[in-house]
């Protein structure tokens, strides 16, 4: 499924979060939004999810509105703070998505959690799980109804550096086996580079697209790849683009 932003602007009162943003995301593409805080990357993601309406312009998800894509259960979302109910076990938290969407075409919550390395934790409550594990349950809950589109807003932002790296690697592995269209919001240049097909760099106040970088790296990209020269070159390219965007913002 494609996602198409056409001249999207968004104001929150006086604040101009997005100004005339156009971007087309292809079917099965992994696109990362990166930029200084206040650049509107989360707003873009929330508009694509149908959680916010643009003030001007429009967003089309596979030709229809985002709300329509939600109605067809084609969208899965995961945010930095896991959307888990404290009174439900990991398994029942993942199962809750299916209580809403129905089981048609869905994956098995148990198999998914086991596949995510949580085989022994099906019946644990969120407070008994580490931050990384909670986020895996959260992403499982976002994926279990097998949506064509996955929207991830800094899912690893609250995790420590090492957990974060391994979670990024894990997510890359999980998604390489699917053909989902992904929008990923992050602050981490390395994370953006290793996961994405394209990195969209935004500048702030107002939020605009400063640059779009194609990541020309082969897949799969494993942990060893993180010290590879080609990888480091791409990281440097994204980073200097980000610095230019930060300068534009001030």
């Amino acid at each position: 499924m494609t996602i198409e932003f056409s001249r999207v602007s968004k104001q929150f009162g006086e604040v101009e979060a997005l100004d005339d943003v156009s971007l087309t995301i292809d079917d099965g593409e992994f696109v990362t939004l990166i930029g200084p805080s206040g650049c509107g990357k989360t707003t873009m993601l929330r508009i694509a999810a149908g959680l916010e309406e643009p003030s001007a312009g429009s967003v089309a998800v596979n030709g229809g509105t985002p709300r329509n894509a939600c109605r067809e259960h084609q969208i899965g979302v995961a945010f930095q703070r896991p959307a888990l109910l404290a009174s439900r076990t990991a398994l029942r938290n993942v199962g809750m998505t299916l209580e809403i969407t129905g089981r048609d075409g869905a994956l098995s919550p148990g198999d998914l959690l086991t596949d995510f390395g949580l085989g022994e934790f099906h019946h644990h409550y969120p407070h008994q799980l580490s931050g990384g594990m909670q986020q895996r349950v959260n992403i499982a809950a976002a994926l279990v109804h097998d949506p064509a589109i996955l929207l991830l807003d800094e899912p690893f932002g609250a995790l420590d550096e090492l957990t974060r790296e391994s979670m990024g690697e894990w997510l890359g592995g999980v998604l390489s086996r699917s053909s989902k269209t992904v929008i990923f919001v992050t602050h981490s240049v390395e994370e953006a580079t290793i996961l994405s097909d394209r990195v969209v760099v935004l500048s702030a106040r107002p939020g605009r697209i400063s640059e779009v970088i194609e990541i020309g790296l082969p897949r799969p990209r494993s942990r060893a790849f993180r010290t590879d020269d080609n990888f480091l070159r791409e990281v440097a390219r994204v980073r200097s683009s980000l610095y230019r965007a930060v300068e534009l913002s001030n």
């Binding site: 945010f79 703070r81 009174s87 976002a142």
Partner: protein, 249 residues
Amino acid sequence: MNERLAYIIMIVSAPIIWVLTIRITEAPSFLLPPPNMVADIMLSEHQDLLFHTRITLVTALSGYVVANIIAISLSVSFLYLPWLEALAVPWTVVIKNVPFVTIATIMIIILGDTPMPKIIIVVLVTFFPILANVTKGLKSADSVMLDRMQTLDSSQWEIFTKIRWPSALPYYIAAHEIAFTGSIIGAVVAEWLFAREGLGALIVRGMSQYRADRVWAVTILASALAVGAYLLVKAVEKYLFRWQVEDLT
């Protein structure tokens, strides 16, 4: 210290303190009756006491059920009709802060010695903690959870039953801790103001006959009911939220 042990220590030491006070002050038994005298009354008049206890309990529970129904309906209405909440705030502030004995007196003047004024008093005492807590609890639902539900195109009913109500439940149970005990105290006070039956009426009767032993018996009974109500809520809470205490094993 273990909570159960602390309760046992209290139950054992209360009569000891009681007896010691009598010994030290040399209070005559018509002022401060010794425990055995009160126990005798409780045994010999147990039929009478149970009859009045039942009356008090029925008043307390009816008022409590009514309070729950009204408070929960209002909380849910507030959630979906914010203007109604704005409209209700001054009313709740005023009604909550009028001394409830004055409202009780007015009710008794209007309605006489019927169950109705007593039930209304119980409702007034127990209604506000439930309303305040459930209203707050329903709004405490996690925003990321609500966002996810919206992207799944879930109905308002699903959002309420799966997210909002479970979020409000701990608040609701906490309200019971105050309100359920309050319902028994409210019923006793209502009967004490004006009634011919119930534990509150027994207190008035005992007082006018200078029967301190009877007043003490009723006090112990009423306190036991209120404490029992509190412990019952605690037990329900412990059962409902048993998952909170389970740890990684």
